[in-house]
């Protein structure tokens, strides 16, 4: 098949901003907080989940401290709480209830450890004390056997924090994910092909679509 060129007008046409707005309004099913297509059953489910509350204030405060230890602000991006990770964790344990007992129990386990060592709950310990405790559960391969339940809890906490953070606007920018926007794929950039010592075959260059 011959080399093909397509004008970028097609692309612009594919993404008319006026239509986008109309589409958005329709997708909301009358609720401005919902910006994706929802069936009637889903709207009921989302409202019920939003109305429920799982974690106590103390638990939420502890989650905030822990999530910021896992994902602090650094030179590239903000922290877990900047990205509202605790709110995501509150939601996801309601939505995926298998998390509820391990999360609630894990937080309690952590508070008990802190109380036995420092006479305070985890969130009220000073930063040095918090880090000393976290260091004992953050490294699965070198953790002591008696800390294994804490390791399992921290692994879960790390997973949920990371997922909540890197699916937020702040996290996506941090990762430099460049997609989810109209594009014209013309293949891997030349410098990247060179870097990895790969190239397109003559057949591919001849057959594959190229946009100008």
């Amino acid at each position: 098949m011959a080399l093909t060129a397509i004008s970028s007008g097609v692309l612009l046409d594919a993404c008319r901003p006026g239509d986008k707005k109309a589409i958005l309004e329709k997708a909301a099913n009358g609720d401005p907080s919902i910006t994706i297509d929802r069936t009637a059953d889903e709207v009921v489910m989302e409202k019920k989940l939003a109305a429920d509350k799982f974690f106590t204030e103390h638990e939420m405060a502890t989650i905030a401290v822990l999530s910021n230890i896992i994902i602090p602000a650094d030179g590239v991006s903000g922290s877990a709480t900047d990205a509202k990770v605790p709110d995501f964790i509150e939601f996801i344990v309601k939505d995926r209830p298998d998390n509820q007992v391990p999360m609630r129990g894990g937080l309690r386990w952590l508070d008990l450890q802190a109380a036995n060592r420092y006479g305070k709950t985890f969130k009220d310990c000073n930063q040095q004390q918090q880090i000393a405790l976290v260091d004992e559960i953050a490294y699965p391969e070198k953790a002591k056997p008696e800390m294994k339940q804490g390791v399992a809890f921290f692994n879960r906490m790390r997973n949920l924090t990371a997922t909540g953070f890197y699916t937020s606007e702040i996290g996506i920018k941090d990762l430099e994910y460049m997609g989810n926007r109209p594009n014209q794929w013309n293949g891997v950039p030349d410098d990247v092909l060179k870097q990895y010592g790969v190239s397109y075959s003559e057949k591919e260059i001849k057959e594959c679509v190229q946009y100008t």
């Binding site: 994706i36 297509d37 069936t39 490294y139 699965p140 990371a162 997922t163 699916t167 891997v188 057959e207």
Partner: protein
């Protein structure tokens, strides 16, 4: 409940179609364009990808960041309303057997979700019994269906390349996209392992084909439905233009109960319950076309008993429900260490892989019949629920920017790890052909009904050694490709303990065979025109009509057969045979 009245729709149609997916959508499109009056019944709500939008949304627009729910089994952004279980619509399984049944209830059915992999069956795929003595030959050959494949390529649009392969026929293709970086690496590795790799064949428009549909803008989200109709869904590409002819009445939320027959045993219409008002309705027609999905269609046939059809409609052969089979499936995931810390750019591309491997071996030298093709994935995708899970299993194993780290961790160092590992994953999945067996079937459960009072299906399906040996071969191939491309296997390195990771039947969602066509009315439910041997005005136009399903995804063949059968209906009506 007070009055219990069955309401009869006043209009008598030329055709009543049950189901608006690939088969039903194509039937509606062909018949309506020929001027016939069509009633199209769909068990779910209206759906139009231009209006019901999840495409181009960001993960944070889903509070669960795209995780699945009971209402969307393939995730919160997936277009399809459905899952492995539907509330109030159960199915049962014989103890010791396996079947997973994915159903989508919506206009367009499961074509709103699928991978757009659009493969023609080859000449051998219609004559397998003649080749290896297993299963049954089709009553038609490639030459019968080729003209319809050609027309569907042009009508719907597909990209790919003509490779001159004997059993993976050439088509009328738009140009494919160039491979992504990890796909170039897969290609190299696969070639070293002796496995061919060619451009994918996907029903996605890389160039415009008409004014009604836009062109792909490379967001890699076909499973979310396309606002500009640049991919094939029955909802946007067939049902919508069919309705625009003015010849189709679409009945949504209409759950078919049974096919009605008259004294002569001919089909006279369909009875259904409306999910909106829970009232009972009947819609009458000169012909009835079942395209409710393989298992749902056979359920309808088996539930449509009458004095003339005591065994269920069109089932004097007793084959309805039997020969149920799905594609085999097994997969392996890994990571490419050479991609650690890679440069960022937008590599979303089209929905799905830009390359695949068609079946390449000769069964005479193998210990299993039939073949499989390989699908691939990987790269810098949009993060979603599950992103970053299990970092403690990875970041202790590789130097991160030259530093050795303790597995797990937290803080700025951990953030560095997520960036460093992003976009390094790679995966392979085999999709193969199973042998249709009489002993693998679905039947009506004598003890259970759904919430509408419709008797439900009970499944009885087991893989045979043939499929298990095929999965074993897949895993051996995958290991070799992974090794040759320098990847590290992270999951799916299975052995005999779990049948080499062979997925439960049903899981690949390519089920077929439960009302197969054939020349012998004693051994088949349909003739070669998808027409019931026992009831000349009943047609089956979904995967149920298949004799066998090849190592190809079945949608393109459902479409071709539905186009062919619909035109047969038109000519039979003209000749007053229907």
């Amino acid at each position: 409940m007070g009055d219990f009245q069955i309401k009869v729709q006043p209009k008598v149609y030329d055709a009543v179609i049950v189901g608006s997916g690939a088969g039903g959508g194509m039937a509606a499109y062909i018949l309506a364009n020929a001027g016939l009056k069509v009633a199209l019944l769909e068990a779910g709500p209206m759906y139009d990808p231009a209006k019901n939008v999840t495409q181009m949304k960001w993960p944070w627009e889903s509070p669960r960041r795209g995780a699945s729910t009971k209402y969307r089994g393939f995730g919160d952004f997936d277009a399809a309303y459905g899952s492995w279980q539907l509330e109030g619509e159960p199915y049962t399984k014989q103890a010791g057997t396996e079947w997973d049944w994915y159903r989508a209830r919506m206009v367009g059915g499961r074509t709103n979700h699928w991978g757009r992999i659009s493969l023609r069956f080859g000449p051998k795929d219609f004559k397998r019994k003649s080749i290896d003595g297993l299963g049954e030959d089709w009553p038609i050959g490639y030459e019968d269906i080729k003209p319809f494949y050609d027309r569907i390529d042009k009508l719907i649009g597909i990209f790919g390349t003509n490779e001159g392969l004997e059993n993976d026929p050439d088509g009328i293709f738009l140009p494919p996209p160039r491979p992504r970086l990890h796909e170039l690496m897969i290609k190299k590795g696969a070639h070293s392992a002796g496995v061919p790799v060619i451009p994918s064949r996907l029903s996605i428009l890389t160039q415009p084909i008409n004014k009604q549909r836009g062109t792909c803008f490379h967001c890699n989200q076909c499973n979310r439905g396309c606002q500009v109709y640049a991919d094939f869904s029955s909802s946007s590409v067939l049902v919508k233009p069919a309705i625009e002819t003015g010849n189709v009445d679409l009945f949504i939320n209409a759950m078919a109960r049974e096919v009605l027959t008259n004294k002569e045993g001919l089909a006279s219409g369909v009875s259904y319950v409306s999910k909106d008002d829970l009232q009972e309705y009947q819609v009458k027609g000169r012909t009835v076309i079942l395209a409710a999905s393989t298992c749902e269609t056979s359920r309808l046939m088996l539930n449509s008993k009458s004095p003339r059809h005591q065994n269920g409609l069109g089932n004097s052969s007793n084959v309805v429900g039997k020969y149920l089979h799905d594609s085999t499936g097994a997969s392996m995931s890994g990571m490419l260490p050479q991609l650690l810390g890679r440069k960022r750019y937008n590599e979303d591309g089209v929905g799905g892989a830009h390359i695949y491997s068609p079946w390449w071996l000769d069964n005479k030298k193998l210990d299993f019949p039939r073949g499989y093709h390989i699908e691939y994935w990987g790269g810098m995708g949009m993060p979603a629920y599950g992103f970053g899970f299990g970092m403690e299993n990875r970041n202790g194993k590789y130097l991160v920017n030259g530093k050795k780290k303790e597995a797990g961790g937290y803080g700025a160092s951990l953030k560095e790890d997520y960036r460093y590992f992003y976009g390094t994953s790679v995966g392979l999945a085999g999709r193969g052909e199973a042998i249709p067996l009489e002993s693998n079937y679905c039947e009506i459960d004598p003890n259970e009904v759904d919430k509408y009072g419709i008797p439900v299906l009970k499944f009885n399906v087991k893989w045979s050694d043939n499929e298990i040996r095929q999965a074993k071969h897949m895993k051996e191939t995958f290991r070799e490709i992974m090794h040759e491309m320098g990847a590290v296997i992270t999951s799916g390195d299975d052995g005999p303990e779990n049948n080499y990771g062979l997925e439960a039947p049903g899981k690949i969602i390519h089920e077929a065979g439960t009302a197969r066509m054939g020349n012998d009315p004693k051994k088949s439910a349909l003739n070669k025109w998808n027409q019931a041997h026992d009831c000349k005005n009943l047609f089956v136009m979904d995967g149920a009509a298949f004799v066998s399903q090849a190592d190809k995804n079945i949608t393109w063949t459902i479409l071709a057969l539905a186009m062919r059968a619909s035109e047969h209906i038109i000519s039979e009506m003209k000749m007053r045979n229907l």
